[in-house]
Symmetry: C2
Subunit: 209 residues, 2 copies
């Protein structure tokens, strides 16, 4: 049952999205704690006071951006990790590479604000990453290699993988930021990331020795 929005609410969501888009663009060259309210409204093309109709503060906007950047990514990560065998690493690296290429500003925002100067945003990102770790852990538990593993150890391993994914995403980003983004450079990062994940997987296989 999809409820058709009134033309009023539709317009509101439209300008709200315009706020998110404009902020994300501005955040490519600064961090959230220096993002001004007027700066955003100027970029959108509305009066400064219009901002308050959508967000309490720029920190509030930042939390909304976290949801936009990570919210829809959970199913993708889940199905990718669900892949069995050696293919899993290949697909994971490709997922990251493609996602960074498709949404570089989102990735930059998350990497930047994960340890940034705005507490509510840091917390929102931390919660989302913890969710990723739990989901990855749940998928890893289905592997035959997970036999004999404690819940704690599985979560430790899952966090290792999630952190590694974020580091890899950040490296792909630097690849795009370089003055002459070359496919060769991207491939180099992909190969290093794959080898690091393979090394971690090897450690996992011999954990119970």
């Amino acid at each position: 049952m999809s409820h058709t929005l009134g033309i009023r609410q539709a317009q509101k969501q439209k300008t709200r999205q315009a706020f998110l888009d404009a902020a994300l663009a501005l955040l490519e060259e600064q961090s959230l704690s220096s993002l001004g309210l007027r700066e955003v409204t100027r970029a959108v093309g509305v009066a400064p006071t219009a901002f308050y109709r959508h967000f309490r503060s720029t920190a509030d906007l930042g939390v909304a951006l976290v949801d936009e950047a990570l919210g829809s990514l959970h199913p993708m990560v889940r199905t990718t990790v669900a892949t069995a065998g050696a293919e899993r690493i290949t697909r994971a690296v490709r997922l990251i590479s493609d996602h960074v290429a498709a949404h570089p500003a989102h990735v930059r925002f998350i990497a930047r604000e994960r340890h940034g100067g705005v507490q509510p945003v840091r917390e929102a990102i931390r919660d989302q990453l913890a969710r990723f770790a739990e989901e990855v852990g749940a998928e890893l538990a289905k592997d035959p290699e997970a036999e004999g593993w404690s819940e704690d150890d599985l979560l430790m391993l899952a966090h290792l993988y999630v952190d590694q994914m974020l580091i890899t995403a950040s490296l792909f980003l630097e690849t795009l930021e370089s003055p002459e983004p070359s496919e060769a450079e991207r491939e180099r990062v992909a190969r290093i990331a794959a080898r690091q994940m393979r090394l971690i997987s090897l450690g996992r296989q011999h954990w119970l020795d």
Copy 2:
């Protein structure tokens, strides 16, 4: 041959250090790209224009902070990694834990600005971390387990360790930031970090299989 500084240069270095200290304190609750020049001078207790006698801009000050935070850490990391056997991981975790406890603001600054909004600072941090990776790689090469390893693979492993150290440092930091910092919480982080490093070491031992 230690050259005694004139009372003029000595005074200059003193206020310069005051700038660094004040900035570091202010950066506990914001990021560098929102740090104002007047804000810093006000905290130091000097006129705004005095700032220019020491730094071109706040970005310049940030680069100086990177050197202060990471510059003197290289020998410590080197000797810690030089430790052989199972003791290496224990010492590494303790080094990180102690360093975070002793210089929390420095660690926070590095974690925050590594992906922050100020390019020159990002580059300075990236260069320093690359140096750490090279040094760690050089120490790892001395291990008997390094036999048959390519230069590339050693560097890949070293980067994995360095990134892992930074993640661990950041987790120790969160431990201190909690409303009621408990020794139990710190110990929990230490145990997880040690297990993650042990898992990586296991992967290393079976890499050439």
